[in-house]
């Protein structure tokens, strides 16, 4: 059932496809399936496509929707950051190297321990390739605040990855103990 709307949407989506999926992969790791996040975000984007005034801003629009989807998933989950064997297997298959896959796995897990905005900013900057100015626009912030946020997030990531033992990171948030079983 191809329509003009389908064609217009796909034409706008194709150039941002890779960045969008990479963002979803990093954001959803260990929390939900990337496919689920992508599908749900796509569906919501299509439903609200007519409300998107500036069609050039499709990717920030989709990232906002993906964030909302993730936020809802996290809100419903009692625990998060639980080791996901399936996700790790997929990562190993994709990277073709178990060591690299493990590093990425640790990094993703550490990312999940950051505050949502910090996590979002660092994924957008380091993985999706957004500039500080663009991130500031997406997060409704200013460039200086975004720089500070990125710097702080990197420091936090570094300290999390350097924690000993790296196989078991315990952290508390909102009065609950979250444990990463590695």
């Amino acid at each position: 059932m191809r329509s003009e709307a389908h064609d217009e949407f796909l034409a706008l989506y194709q150039p941002v496809h890779e960045r969008f999926v990479r963002y979803c992969s990093s954001h959803a790791y260990g929390i939900m399936e990337t496919e689920d996040l992508v599908q749900e975000t796509l569906l919501k984007t299509m439903q609200h496509f007519n409300s998107l005034k500036d069609r050039e801003k499709l990717l920030p629009f989709m990232i906002s929707i993906a964030n909302n989807v993730m936020h809802n998933v996290l809100r419903r989950r009692k625990f998060r950051g639980v080791y996901d064997e399936k996700a790790f297997s997929k990562l190993t298959a994709m990277s073709g190297n178990a060591d690299v896959a493990m590093d990425i796995h640790y990094l993703y897990k550490a990312l999940n321990m950051l505050a949502e905005k910090d996590k979002e900013a660092i994924i957008l900057f380091e993985i999706t390739g957004y500039s500080i100015k663009e991130i500031a626009a997406i997060q409704s912030s200013n460039e200086n605040a975004t720089k500070t946020r990125l710097s702080r997030a990197r420091q936090k990531l570094k300290s999390l990855l350097e924690e000993e033992p790296v196989h078991q990171i315990k952290f508390a948030k909102a009065g609950q103990l979250f444990t990463l079983l590695m």
Binding site: H6, T34, E35, L42, L43, N50, D103, V166
Partner: protein
């Protein structure tokens, strides 16, 4: 396995990973969605508005039809007459009124056709002691010592722009209390009935008898209340004249004030108040509520 992965190199590794979902999969997914998915939210919003508008329109239409039927089926005077006629019992004391006017009232009552009686909206309800529940202020003034032992009846009637409630508490041979409340945008006391004996406790009812003085007291008392500074606005206020005192918006006033407003009421209305009585007038915007209560 490295215990401390390097952040920069790991991010580079992530960038070098193949894309988890290829574009053809996305294209297939998008194309499998119906074209309506792009307008689904708009349709839902529009439908919601349509349903809301239709619902409001239906309510207004129903109300308009109901009111028009109500107006066609009964004249307000006849309906009120029938409602009150049911309430008057032989034991109930009558209001002072000239004899010829009583006859006039009866003449006006008699031509009411039988069919209209059946369309009357009066309801008779028997309750333990609703007076204290419905009109606690008035009930207090009436000093109903043994109301729980008495038979209580309530008549509820409504017409175009007004509603009428009549509560009678009686049962014993030598005592009875009646409270009448009429309220709404068209609430007005049109006429009274009763007998000539001024020693009797006053009970007034709505009948077909026209009162010559009309409701002149409403405007006159309102002006007096404003002039005396008892009320600041003529939009919303309440006053009560009882056999014991006078209050405006709940504030009790002195004896002199009570006598003045009692006289204004008597001089500019057809009401006769004897024995234990309470007259309450409340105004809120275009709607007024007139409550009278009496006990022998």
């Amino acid at each position: 396995m490295k215990p401390h992965p390097d952040i920069n190199s790991t991010f580079n590794s992530i960038k070098n990973l193949p894309v988890e979902i290829d574009y053809s999969g996305i294209e297939h997914f998008v194309m499998s969605q119906p074209a309506t998915v792009f307008t689904l939210k708009t349709i839902f919003s529009s439908t919601k508005i349509i349903f809301m508008t239709t619902g409001i329109a239906t309510i207004i239409t129903t109300a308009a039809i109901f009111l028009s039927i109500n107006n066609k089926s009964e004249t307000p005077v006849a309906a009120t007459t029938l409602a009150i006629k049911k309430e008057i019992s032989p034991e109930q004391p009558m209001v002072n009124i000239p004899q010829h006017t009583q006859q006039q009232s009866l003449e006006n009552i008699s031509p009411v056709p039988q069919e209209k009686k059946q369309q009357n909206t009066t309801a008779q309800i028997v309750l333990a002691n609703p007076l204290n529940i419905l009109f606690p202020d008035i009930a207090g003034n009436l000093q109903l010592d043994d109301t729980t032992k008495r038979k209580t009846s309530i008549a509820v009637s409504s017409g175009s722009g007004y509603s009428y409630t009549n509560v009678s508490v009686g049962g014993s041979s030598n005592s009875s209390c009646t409270t009448s409340v009429i309220s709404g945008s068209n609430a007005t006391i049109m006429s009274y009935s009763g007998d000539n004996n001024e020693d009797e406790t006053a009970v007034y009812n709505f009948t077909t008898y026209p009162c010559e003085k009309g409701n002149a007291y409403e405007a006159i008392i309102e002006q007096a209340l404003l002039a005396d500074g008892y009320i600041k606005s003529d939009k919303k206020y309440k006053y009560e004249i009882t056999s014991k005192g006078f209050s405006v918006d709940g504030d009790q006033k002195g004896v002199a004030a009570r006598d003045k407003y009692y006289q204004l009421l008597i001089d500019n209305s057809c009401m006769i108040l004897n024995g234990n009585y309470a007259f309450e007038f409340a105004k809120k915007g275009d709607s007024i509520s007139i409550s009278t209560s009496s006990c022998d």
